[in-house]
Symmetry: C2
Subunit: 580 residues, 2 copies
């Protein structure tokens, strides 16, 4: 096993302080925001003399801690009050963790004439999403590419291309009166990429030579040793597997990995296989990319599922999503026999050309098991190099930091442990320990010409949860209830009483779900009904006016205890008093 | 990255068939059972001429798919009808995935005089658990060790020791009239173990020489290249880290890894550190092992939390559980500041001496992030060799299979993809493809002298879920409800009507949890109440007798749709009609 870097909390990380700003001393404010606390920093705010520049507006995918939540978007309270100060919103690339929250955020920060810029492909992705949302302001997006320049308030921006796994991926060199900032996109070095130009080290060197005051650098690969693989290496391995396959080949990958998809199409062409694209998201993304010219393929390369059935198996490649074991994706549907058109055959070969997104490990294992049980070959990235991360690993990051040679270094994107790992790399690359800034979402970092400080006050940065049409309305209580309901279900006890006498009119009704199998728990239900009546009677016998809230809390407590002692489960007990 | 083996469905895996048994031809039945379908085969049934021998009675831990479930135990319906035929229950070792289901299963299969055997430490663990359960039959367990022999019906068993990470770990050589069976415990090879004797290859060779008809072999490490690490290697690395540490060292590991715990105590002694044991499960397991003599340490080696505060930090080792990020374990309590006695200091060093159990990846990442944010060093097994698996990897498994040189090979323990990987290893080790048996829980494998078959009929093998006091009472419906409640919560609508007229007496009551924040959804609630009244009125206007079940299903459908269109969420809608 290759070993990761020694990671540890860097001792010199500054504590937030209240140190007063000296009069006349100008500072650059940097505020990282992000969807999730743990993997945020994919919405960066740069502020100089009250003018604000935003880079990326990404969202996060909810983990197990957020049941039922669709997305987690950055908190923009700070920006909402400062609409008029925002001089521009710039995007590095079109992946959802960098553009996904834009439709939610735009409504809140929009003002006429807001400057927005992105590469052509990123622009199309953003505008495509705008159409899916209601009540969006009409926006114009300025197209930028490698070498484009743009002025936004006090910020002079020059874009430079970086390799990733989506076209139109741009880093930014930003001149400010305090010094120059370089902020990276997700990036890796690739001397030999496919459908893309190799990394231009000369150009990077030139940028570094201009003097970099602050480098904000992608951290996603910072825990992994060595170099990332070139996409050309991946192609070689994919071809080897597909050549060997005696039956159909089912290649599953992310629909956003346009370069990988192009490879699969090219290999299929070389090996005389037609490509059958399955699943909604793969089909729409592919159409979209073909229309823009980002995927090059003749129409007759593609066939539908019916045509695939008529061709010999060794002339068919099936391209689909579902590498993460998502139950609705094409691959899961095929694996569980739910797909109408495609069923596995014994000579099939499945290639999972992706890594496993943290949190999906069990789902992916289950998917592999399900496929293997059908006698089908499975290749995944832990067995062979059939997936390359889009993120540079330790050696690439160190090289990049050395090229930039920044005075201040701030790791961005990725989990907190990745930030600390990237901080270590910066140290090794020659950045002074005291100039390395590991910040949390919402921290205000004041950068001067020679030093920096973290303000004690944060801007609001707690995650905003998106659930269906609701944005930010699912709070801690709703989530806590969902967790609790998931554990032991719920138990509603409806007690109907006479409004005047307070006497119970009929036997209490019980509605329970997720707790026990009701048909087999008749005794438990009968005893619980009796217990509820007894509790109400006892309280009534104490005389005086009945406080129904007390009755409810007494029922909740005692019925809860009684159910626990009989079942060792704690369903959510919800007493309801109906007065008629 | 080291690459795993090419894994694929082996083409020759036999399909179950109904082939009739030739008269007079004797066969050995093998039936694997287990807690979870995906990681089962940790309760094996060997049956000859209707006599049944059971090896291990393990349980599984529920995954995300089983919310609220405590354990998953094997289905024993087949055995319950065959009590009198069971000639023995033998145990390989004391880990819960091999003995955990015994208290649940014993009640169902017990008969007087049932022969039970285990090594002394396994016996203590089993009897300790028996005491925690009510209504357990009084049992005697025969102590066995390396070289012990035992006869149970037609089965002649000889135990042989295997290295793992718990003492008293035994494989079995079982003579039957059909041929000899070798069934392994969890095992690895260790030429240089701690607190244990090295693997005795001569003895293994001798066993192989006797002729092995069927080998049932642990598969847990089958997907990993190379050899497992020796515990001595781990000790060297642990010592290096602890020696370097300038402050306290917090070592977190599983409480069941008795050998690892002994190492930490030994290193602490050598480096003049006292050991402060934190957390209930670590303390009880340690006391238990000390009493049995499996942990060697003087009383004065240990200190309590208060004494730890008084000692210089570089003389303190804190030993605790919590490597999996479990919120109630000591390490999580310390990391989140909830521990009364121990708070992190900047010079602390945390060592996570364990692997990450699949499914816990996000929890562990969150734990690491939380610790790093406090400026504390963190070492984990991906950075340095500070944990060794108790399971042999590919080279060890191949060597073992070669030593046994079996005619038939059946991979057991572990996920399905591990079974297939182990099958590949057997092929490489010289077992004929047609004699490799990959079976599912419940399959009946009939092994003859020269061939085998899998019966079309399975024995009942669906998982039995344990939730609190309920065993097997939580079924698919309850689980489905829990999932659904976790997604979007629930919405109970109580409609009170006049028994005679069917007219609604009062405004419908709504109880909702996990759906929306009720205080901010007054419009939604008001509109829903109106809609419910309207639905009831419409049905009543149609005249005739009112079928309240129809009313309920109509409300469920239409209110569900209306809530979805307004919120894009689908709470569980539960209409209740109260007739008074």
């Amino acid at each position: 096993m290759t070993k990761k870097k020694e990671i540890h909390g860097i001792k010199h990380i500054k504590k937030p302080s209240n140190s007063k700003r000296k009069k006349g001393v100008e500072r650059l404010k940097v505020i990282p925001l992000g969807g999730l606390e743990e993997v945020g920093r994919n919405m960066m705010i740069y502020e100089y003399k009250r003018k604000i520049l935003i880079v990326d507006v990404g969202f996060g995918f909810p983990g197990e801690n957020n049941p039922g939540i669709d997305y987690v978007i950055p908190n923009t309270k700070y920006l909402e009050k400062r609409k008029k100060d925002i001089v521009g919103v710039l995007f590095t690339h079109g992946h959802l963790d960098h553009v996904g929250a834009f439709p939610y955020v735009l409504k809140k920060i929009y003002r006429k004439g807001l400057k927005i810029a992105a590469s052509p492909v990123t622009k199309k992705i953003i505008l495509g999403r705008q159409e899916e949302f209601r009540d969006q302001p009409k926006i114009k997006i300025r197209e930028v590419k490698d070498g484009s320049k743009l002025k936004a308030g006090p910020f002079k921006v020059e874009f430079f291309k970086q390799n990733h796994n989506i076209p139109g991926n741009l880093g930014m060199f930003i001149e400010t009166p305090i010094g120059n900032i370089v902020t990276t996109s997700d990036f890796k070095f690739d001397k030999n990429p496919l459908n893309d130009e190799p990394t231009d080290f000369k150009k990077l060197k030139k940028i570094g030579k201009k003097g970099v005051h602050l480098l904000c650098c992608d951290s996603t690969g910072a825990e992994e040793e060595g170099h990332s693989l070139s996409e050309r290496e991946i192609k070689k391995n994919l071809k080897k597997i597909i050549k060997k396959a005696k039956g159909r080949v089912i290649v599953s990958t992310f629909s956003s990995l346009l370069n990988r998809i192009q490879q699969v199409i090219n290999i299929s062409k070389q090996l005389n296989r037609k490509v059958c694209v399955q699943g909604y998201s793969m089909r729409t993304k592919l159409d979209f990319a073909k229309n823009l010219g980002y995927i090059q393929a003749k129409k007759n390369r593609f066939i539908n599922a019916k045509q695939a059935q008529e061709l010999p198996d060794d002339q068919v490649t099936i391209l689909c999503t579902g590498t993460q074991g998502e139950s609705n994706a094409a691959l899961s549907r095929i694996a569980s026999g739910r797909d109408r058109n495609i069923k596995f055959k014994e000579k099939d070969t499945v290639i999972l050309s992706s890594s496993v997104v943290p949190g999906n490990e069990t789902l992916v294992q289950a998917l592999k098991d399900k496929i293997l049980k059908q006698g089908v070959k499975v290749y995944h990235y832990e067995m062979m190099d059939i997936h390359a991360s889009g993120h540079g690993k330790q050696e690439e990051l160190k090289k990049f930091i050395k090229l930039m040679n920044p005075k201040f270094f701030m790791p961005i994107h990725g989990q907190i442990s990745m930030l600390y790992a990237n901080a270590e790399l910066a140290k090794e690359a020659g950045v002074k320990e005291k100039n390395i800034i590991v910040a949390e979402n919402g921290n205000i970092i004041n950068i001067g010409k020679n030093q920096y400080g973290i303000a004690k006050k944060k801007v609001p940065a707690d995650s905003v949860l998106v659930d269906g049409l609701g944005v930010g309305d699912v709070g801690k209580i709703v989530l806590r209830d969902r967790h609790s309901l998931a554990e032991d279900g719920m138990f509603v006890l409806i007690i109907t009483v006479d409004k005047k006498t307070g006497k119970i009119i009929k036997s209490p009704d019980i509605i329970s779900r997720g707790f026990v199998y009701l048909k087999e728990s008749k005794d438990l239900l009968r005893d619980t009904r009796q217990k509820a009546r007894k509790i109400v009677r006892e309280i009534m016998d104490n005389g005086g006016n009945i406080n129904w809230n007390n009755v409810k809390s007494e029922i909740r407590k005692r019925i809860g205890q009684s159910l626990y002692s009989r079942t060792k489960r704690r369903p959510m007990v919800l007493p309801v008093i109906i007065e008629v």
